[in-house]
Symmetry: C2
Subunit: 155 residues, 2 copies
């Protein structure tokens, strides 16, 4: 009998992206709380159903824990871009107020991702697989323009 | 008899950059405190002698007023870039902690300025003229690379 719940045998959990996400989350875990936790548990806060998202108020500034998750996601995406193209990819996230902001990844003098982020309070994905799809989408576009404008990316 | 103090007749105060700086500062002035103030007085906080700078402690996070000045400066530079090249220039400033951070200006998908900023607490210039020199330097480099990589800047 198969279930929808991710298990250790799930090939998704063996992908570079999910491994990188775990690495990013462990880097934030100063007190070693996650030691011995399985991947699904470490990444659980990234999975929110539509109902869970709707239940989170978007009033005021998002808290630091939420912001650190947004950063972990874009850091992981940048790490993948760097791994694939061999050039340093630098993420920069600016959440101004009320959960609005801009997320950017640069390679050399090339902007490979530029996004307006909003309602950061509700940052999350329907599933880990959806999160990986999102990362893959950014990665594909980034690698395409790095290839096209390699001179600028190499500056 | 001439003095080193800037006066209303000073051609420096008539430059696009200084006018833009005043515009940026007035935009921050929600209560109209600067109404009727001369340019030199509005921009006075940007002028710090070496001794004044040294006297400012660099411990902890810089205050919001200092941060708003740093933003005003890079906003003004971006506005000049935009005016000169006719393409939208977007500044992004990220001060992480203890006054360290990164300031970036993008035109299209091109990074036209990318700076590490440090000791933001002590942000200031020897004179308004030195401040303009600094802005001119950034502007010249930015326009050069926009010209060179116009396709990326137009994305």
């Amino acid at each position: 009998m198969s279930t929808a719940v991710a298990t250790a045998a799930d090939p998704l959990l063996q992908t570079d992206f999910i491994k990188e996400m775990v690495k990013q989350m462990r880097a934030l875990d100063s007190y070693g709380t996650y030691d011995g936790w399985p991947t699904e548990r470490i990444l659980a806060p990234f999975v929110l159903t539509k109902e869970q998202r709707r239940a989170i108020p978007v009033i005021g500034d998002p808290d630091d824990v939420t912001l650190s998750r947004v950063k972990a996601f874009y850091n992981a995406v940048a790490a993948l871009i760097e791994k694939e193209c061999g050039l340093m990819a630098v993420p920069m996230i600016n959440i101004t107020h009320e959960g609005f902001g801009r997320a950017l990844i640069t390679v050399g003098k090339l902007v490979v991702m530029d996004r307006t982020v909003r309602d950061v309070h509700r940052f999350g994905f329907d599933s880990l697989s959806k999160m990986k799809d999102e990362a893959d989408k950014v990665l594909a576009v980034a690698l395409e323009i790095v290839g096209k404008y390699s001179e600028v990316a190499g500056l």
